[in-house]
């Protein structure tokens, strides 16, 4: 995959931004993940060239932390909370329902690039259990019946867009 010049520039700028910090790799990767949504190998190579850290080490870090991803995520990231408080209130059923309706498993993205399902480990909204989030917007006390509605809500936004 060829990296667009503006992306290369952006990634290099991020590396430069943290160049004065001690051990800046995590900060650089967090920022790239936030800005571009994923950190493919080609981008890791740029980071390596800029920081002098071997690509193997960078790859090791990227694959270790669940926040970093090698592939782009869907336009809407459906985060279903599987923290204990949500789990004992049947959040697994919510996840099952999303997987069933979208035909993908947690961690995967729909072929149209619209939805990614993520099983997340507690967002600390335990009073709202079972909770889920779509691109950070929290949905409290979700029931399996609402799953359809939530998907439809975002599909409708696409049609109207």
């Amino acid at each position: 995959m060829a990296i667009k010049p503006e992306v290369r520039k952006g990634v290099e700028a991020i590396c430069a931004e943290y160049s004065k910090e001690p051990s800046p790799l995590m900060m650089i990767l967090s920022k790239i993940q936030k800005e571009y949504g994923y950190i493919p190998l080609e981008v890791q190579e740029i980071v390596s060239a800029k920081t002098g850290i071997p690509v193997a080490e960078i790859y090791g870090v990227v694959t270790f932390y669940s926040f970093f991803s090698l592939e782009p995520k869907g336009k809407y990231v459906l985060g279903i909370c599987l923290g204990t408080a949500c789990y004992v209130k049947s959040s697994q059923q919510i996840l099952d329902k999303f997987e069933q309706l979208l035909g993908i498993k947690a961690g995967q993205t729909t072929p149209d690039g619209l939805f990614t399902i993520e099983a997340i480990r507690c967002m600390g909204a335990c009073a709202l259990a079972p909770a889920m989030s779509v691109n950070g917007k929290v949905y409290p006390k979700v029931t399996p019946d609402e799953v359809n509605k939530i998907i439809a809500e975002y599909k409708a936004m696409e049609v109207n867009a």
């Binding site: 051990s23 870090v61 270790f64 669940s66 599987l82 204990t84 480990r121 600390g124």
Partner: protein
Amino acid sequence: MEQIKSAAVLDKNIKECTAIIDAKLKGEGGKRAVLICGGTGCLANNSDEILHEFEKQIKEHGLEKKISVNHVGCFGFCSQGPFVKIFPEDTLYHTVKVSDVKQIVEDDLINGKICENLLYVDPATKQKVVRQDDINFYKKQLRVALHGCSVINPDLLEESLGYDGFKALKKVLTEMTPQQVIDEVLASGIRGRGGAGFPTGKKWQFAANQKSEIKYVVCNGDEGDPGAFMDRSILEGNPFEVIEGMMIAGYAFGAHEGYFYVRAEYPVAVERLLRAIKDMEAVGLLGDHILGTDFSFRAHLRLGAGAFVCGEETALLNSIEGKRGMPRPRPPFPAIKGLWGKPTCVNNVETLAQIPYIIRVGATEYAKIGTVGSKGTKVFALGGKINNVGLVEVPMGTTLRTLIFDIGGGIPNGKKFKAIQTGGPSGGCLTEKDLDTPIDYDSLIAKGSMMGSGGAIVMDEDNCMVDVAHFYMDFICSESCGKCSPCRIGTKRLYEMLTQVTNGQATPKTLEDMRALANVIKGGSLCALGQTAANPILSTMNNFPDEYQAHVVDKKCPAHVCKKLMQYVIDPVKCKKCSKCARNCPVNCISGVPGKEPYVIDQSKCIKCGTCLAGCPFGAISKR
């Protein structure tokens, strides 16, 4: 704000700010204040919009000079949020919606009439409660670490200064030697709130004994225990208090730099912490020669990236150093050789939040709270099958019964209490027989669980304990860093064996093997994650042997949770042949004739999704 470069200027500012907060809460000059919960839970319930609506309507009525509105930190009673509190009357409104703002503004703020319909109703007495302190949930609590949460505006340094902030810092910098600070913290008896309960003063002493120009304080805010949100709420509600605690630690053992390591999943906490650091730098409370003394200190922030193991202190240090978050062998302990090889103390958010209080009131006073071996208070995140889900701070020694039934309000829907899991994936479950156990480090360990960081998840009769153990094992298995084989391979095998149990494929031999393997993982792992990984299994096996037996021998899940061991059935007598279940079934496995023949589920096709049961208007469908 002016530069605070000496103790005298700090004193002056504290005095002025205290007077302002006092006036605000007492309503001097006929002014009133509206405080709105800005914790993550309430923000998810639109408390941001509620704030804007208040601002808008107050402006429309031309009352900006008379009424102030701002966000505060977590009220703790999260299941009843969002909260709006009106001063000076101290009226507390709960589950407020944006549409309620008009009523509060017009009835209460303008006409001084309490909005009865928005008051909390005590479920037992059915009485309406006006003031927060009169609600049962709050009566047995004591707020030390949560000092200022739900009172001060966490975005304003002035409000912190007006609410006891930096009094302790001034005291240590002007009146105490570093050794006196360590001695005071040792004498207070405080133990680390992150889980293991190591005496904080001792840790500081180890680091103080090291001769090194460079030392670090690290604040562990990588709250990975699912279902726990104590540290997040403290950082969101009063970030200044934690920074102050960190600075006192730095002064005590000779560190001039501090690192906060906070989960990236906590954007609100991160934002408020960053702003607090910036504002303190701007007035000189962080930087060189603080208050004109020789003490200099800088605070930095590093974000986690979603790895549970980084809550382990040596893994956390590796993560700050930009490496994979894998634990290091100990010794050498971080106090000897920590961040970038320098002496480092890693303290939990809640531990640091208690330090200013200890210094303010003195060790003797602090040590009066709690039990012989566990001093002070502990914050718990009460969650799961409990009426009052939320954040609770109680003196050590409070019994589980008080926590669950008096403060937590018991189990919803008339269900029976089954177990409470403390210590998260590293802890264990405690049952009915343990309810009178006082909460302290040693009693909980004696009962086969642990204090942990403060997650407390309540389960009722509808929860299957084998399934809960399976859940934790899945968690541990995917969060194991992979460094040592007992944990990496052992947890995977344990998970597979537990899957056999929940699928009904296990034999009594499986249970024996699980126990044996659990002990190997416990004894053979490098870090606490592995050493405690088997706790949820061992503790559920010990407390609920019958449930394991039912899965293994009778091939039944008594709580009807494990899908392979349960069925949905339709009672032909109760079935009104309406066909709703058949229409809702996603796999079309329910058949019958509308109005004529009762419906039947084809068990071979059923995916156990439960849609039919949830939708049946006649209660004809049940789990078996």
